[in-house]
Symmetry: C2
Subunit: 181 residues, 2 copies
């Protein structure tokens, strides 16, 4: 499909509830351990999602509408989520993500974007010229890339426990890790 | 972690609610289209999850406890989900999955499995000797592999719409497709 704002919003408004249903009250063995080394745990991913609500999507959308391409988007602090996660329980972060998302979607809807607005352009510091439509589609796809990552991190925790079945489970062969971006 | 029954159950009991929160009421562009060719849509995945509740996990668990290794598990009908999906809406299938899962977890809890039971063995037609603990961990990992697949199928629908951001999104580089299993 091309970018349709109502389809993007349909996903964006469901992600917090889906993560809440999956993760609230889960034993910490599923949520506080990464995939080895300094890889992210599920909790780290939720902190990152909150951070992006704060500094990425709607900030860049407003930049496109107010500044356009004349100045690039501010670069993101790749470690900014650490600030958001410090001292918080996963349950607190799930609440915080739901609130931040709802607030951003209220702002997005209030913009009453037209088809013409969606073609307006900004400048990404690494990717160059991008449209508002691309930014908003990426907001939804970013939820999906982290849902994908969360399922892979959790599956990693039972990699040994499944014994010979590991070779039948696609998630255990996944190498689809995101670059910074 | 090794296999701990309460951790496995914690995931198994959350998956239907998480999929419901993500998918119920979603525009069909997200749920009824696959990744090209004859690949599965999100709806097909839900039909497959229902089918597995019916013919796989608890059927094999009982086989291990009642028959052991003397006879292999019955082979699964890889197309059995088609039967379950025919003529049903996604909303109906989400209800059906939640009911089937709840019923199976009731049965699992009623078995009051001991550590010794979890080491009992059955014979998989392709993988050979497997333990009950491995089977139950695989039930949970199978939820995760399909959550991983669902997020990838959905991301596929906005592959063009995200424009240059595609290269930053891990889910769009995923090649972690499950074999039949």
């Amino acid at each position: 499909m091309g970018h349709k704002l109502e389809n993007t919003i349909a996903l964006l408004e469901r992600t917090p509830g889906a993560l809440d249903a999956l993760l609230r009250g889960m034993p910490e063995v599923w949520t506080e351990t990464g995939e080895g080394g300094d890889t992210w745990s599920v909790s780290t991913v939720i902190a990152h999602l909150i951070h992006c609500e704060d500094v990425d999507w709607m900030v860049r959308a407003r930049h496109i509408l107010e500044v356009g391409e004349s100045e690039p988007f501010a670069a993101l602090d790749r470690e900014g989520h650490v600030r958001f996660g410090r001292g918080k329980t996963l349950a607190q972060m799930l609440d915080e993500f739901a609130l931040a998302r709802a607030k951003n979607l209220d702002e997005l809807r209030a913009l009453n974007l037209t088809a013409q607005d969606l073609e307006r352009r900004g400048r990404h510091p690494a990717l160059g010229s991008v449209t508002l439509a691309e930014l908003l589609a990426t907001w939804a796809a970013h939820d999906l890339t982290h849902l994908h990552q969360i399922s892979r991190i959790m599956a990693h925790q039972v990699r040994e426990a499944v014994g010979p079945w590991a070779r039948f489970l696609g998630v255990m062969q996944c190498a689809g890790h995101s670059e910074a971006g």
